[in-house]
Subunit: 188 residues, 6 copies
Amino acid sequence: MADSRFALTELEDLPDDLRERISVIAQKSGFVPNIFRALGHRPAELRAFLDYHDALMERADGLSKAERELVVVATSGANHCTYCVVAHGAILRIRSRDPLLADQVAVNPWRAELDERRRAIVDLALALTRQPEKFGDADIARARAAGLTDDEIWDVGAITALFAASNRLAHLAALRPNAEFYAMGRDR
Amino acid sequence: MADSRFALTELEDLPDDLRERISVIAQKSGFVPNIFRALGHRPAELRAFLDYHDALMERADGLSKAERELVVVATSGANHCTYCVVAHGAILRIRSRDPLLADQVAVNPWRAELDERRRAIVDLALALTRQPEKFGDADIARARAAGLTDDEIWDVGAITALFAASNRLAHLAALRPNAEFYAMGRDR
Amino acid sequence: MADSRFALTELEDLPDDLRERISVIAQKSGFVPNIFRALGHRPAELRAFLDYHDALMERADGLSKAERELVVVATSGANHCTYCVVAHGAILRIRSRDPLLADQVAVNPWRAELDERRRAIVDLALALTRQPEKFGDADIARARAAGLTDDEIWDVGAITALFAASNRLAHLAALRPNAEFYAMGRDR
Amino acid sequence: MADSRFALTELEDLPDDLRERISVIAQKSGFVPNIFRALGHRPAELRAFLDYHDALMERADGLSKAERELVVVATSGANHCTYCVVAHGAILRIRSRDPLLADQVAVNPWRAELDERRRAIVDLALALTRQPEKFGDADIARARAAGLTDDEIWDVGAITALFAASNRLAHLAALRPNAEFYAMGRDR
Amino acid sequence: MADSRFALTELEDLPDDLRERISVIAQKSGFVPNIFRALGHRPAELRAFLDYHDALMERADGLSKAERELVVVATSGANHCTYCVVAHGAILRIRSRDPLLADQVAVNPWRAELDERRRAIVDLALALTRQPEKFGDADIARARAAGLTDDEIWDVGAITALFAASNRLAHLAALRPNAEFYAMGRDR
Amino acid sequence: MADSRFALTELEDLPDDLRERISVIAQKSGFVPNIFRALGHRPAELRAFLDYHDALMERADGLSKAERELVVVATSGANHCTYCVVAHGAILRIRSRDPLLADQVAVNPWRAELDERRRAIVDLALALTRQPEKFGDADIARARAAGLTDDEIWDVGAITALFAASNRLAHLAALRPNAEFYAMGRDR
């Protein structure tokens, strides 16, 4: 089977700005993550996706980078998104320097053992993930009670929202994770 | 209660490029849709959101503009997103020139009476909306059997994905629809 | 497509008592609501339905008339019943003198912004609507804590029950709302 | 605990017409079924409920009486309604002359072993019971393919609708089945 | 239809140890419960199943025997397992000396009227039955608050686990309850 | 936090037969899997659990050993059981000689890319896992159509049943996977 249900675009066939941007990522990882090959046939969408991703995942204030990946893995686990769990699980292992956390959160985000702050972050993400119509003031209050600022709450919610989209794109395309992701960051 | 749980940004306080961009929309509608006021405190995110939105909703090929709004209303109805149903319901009434369609699709997207092409579009969107982990080859096959091209299938899936994000941002913020949206496009 | 999956009965073909009764409604609305045309082929059932409806919806004590319609719209929204949402949404707009409330409650009854009494009424209705087996003393206690009397609690529960039936009759028949309902009561 | 969360009305305190009507039932059963004691504080509602019940359950055409009770037990089992399962389970045992059928249908209506006609009746009822928004042409088509007439389909749907109401009234009141019902009709 | 979808093994065809063991049960009941005939084609599995069953259901410490059957009936009711509800419903009626309890718990385990200790036992079982991924410290804390010891909590959890298996074996085989079970223990 | 919510039993404190039996496993793995430490306080239950496990997982006929682990990982993934996914994921990687399969099946058992036989095995397991009351003849027929024998169908069903129990024991105890399991079998 193929890496996507739709046409794949290789690095060299991308518009210049995207080729350069993805090249930087590819050099760091040692390979081109399949999500970029799968979105490449729609350059304008890929560009906006990358911009949105960077605005949220590379942001200096608010959540730490490991916490941002924690949100991604929790929401992707709850959405059973293989690509996002495997790829961002690898990043979470690296950013948290914890080789076990990603699998624990991906398999059972609702009850993974986490300290209070991380638990509050994951609970907030989960409250928006599967039944967003039930999200309410009580969820916000619980997050605040655990010490999250409104800026951090927005981060959690907005990352959850972006990966609600991302998970669905991966399901749409039956996107396969690159084999390299599975074992990354597993050594202590 | 306020129009959002988070800080609102008025038109005049946005960065120049966003102010100009939203102004065009505001002039057409006669008011500033609340979504822009609610996202304005994060200009980079708002810019990426607008780019993604325009790449999908203003695209020349593939689905018609009414069909794109149909996807939005169906997925937002299934996600019980008041802002998106009310705002995009108005746009759907205008673009489809049908004052009844939006309410029918928003209240019961699964069984609204639609012609075969529209039914296939809505069914595809719904298959990705609430249980994306069950999305599979059978959903793609049904869409193709109804005559949708792969380009159109991507359109439906990608719009569904973008509004999975959008619905969750609206739930996060408890975003209120502008009162003007409710009655727009209701005359035959 | 037809207004119902089953035979429709026009006003002039109803038994005398029903014809007179429906005529009064038709004169007020300016048209014969389709529910009566759809139930007319079973006069004994229509008669009992009307009696039950009037016993609950025209009752002098307990909930106000707007509150009774609020229960109907909330439960019908949760049951995705297009006929009941559109028809009773119109009545709720008129009785509450609020052109926005019905859409807000129908799209997301769980989190629509409501004052405490209305929120308690809607929560009680929702507790019986989709998973009635979980309805329990805690639901009753919450309603009482919000100031509802036992007589009002019965009103909410019994109206929810009647529209559990009504929603299912509409789904059974694929009953179409009369076009007139959609725009009624939308002016402030 | 009491037989209902709300006031109970004894036979002698009912309006004349209701007292006579319930007396006939009580004489046949040997006791006053608790549903009548629980609804008696609202005579107009009880009267309409009885009329609706008799219009559907005593109807000469269409489904047999055992089949009507089969619909009641299936839908009440799916709704986990103790009163309706126990009381109508007894009636189904008697009317079907089968001491085992009611428990089988109540515990697992989806997969109880039934002949084709009964299976079609129960499947139709279940399609309307828990997710009525998904009820559609395919459900009607399956019922017709099993030989049900449109008149019988209406019977199944309308009985399911009435007991959607009845189940919720019983859950509202935490209505207890009379002890006599449990063992009735258990001898072959 | 047959008593199982798979081969049945009669008492005389079982290995000696199993034949003797089942004979004791058969003599007490007056018949061979169908579960043993259905599992007999896999003697090693039947032996382990019986050992596990006896270790939990015949244990001297912890829960009373009636309480153990209460767990079985509650979890089997929530899993809609006809064989387990009918067979263990009979045993619960006998062990609790209450002819009504089993039907009440089987039809609606969530809201059956129970004293505080029994309610805590059933709630704990239910928390593990349908969504075990949500089982957490709060469930344990509620059980302890109702006075259950850790030894009793393990009993409830382990019996729930064993019957999660048992219910699925019965569903796998479409196992029919012996007709004798239905009426056992119904006299006061 | 601890490896279990309940008392842990170390190897040297187990009864002789269990100590010897677990020692063999511990020598092969290089550590004592936590499940044995967590069940050790109830030797009779642990003994029966091991017997049941061995009868199903070490069986010579029917499914291959890799296929048996596939069933375990699929059902444990659907039940979000961290211990079982991590521990049996490791075994599946080893037995299937495929370092990627386990994560793919655990994250999304419903849509993991599998050949026809494996897909049929997983689909059968899933049909019994979360809504066993809907398991029926159609599931059996689909398994047969993919070439599974009745003996293999029983294997799949019985393993699914055993791990329905096992998953719930792990959730009951909040059982932590040994750290060693996470990285086992990840090299090609």
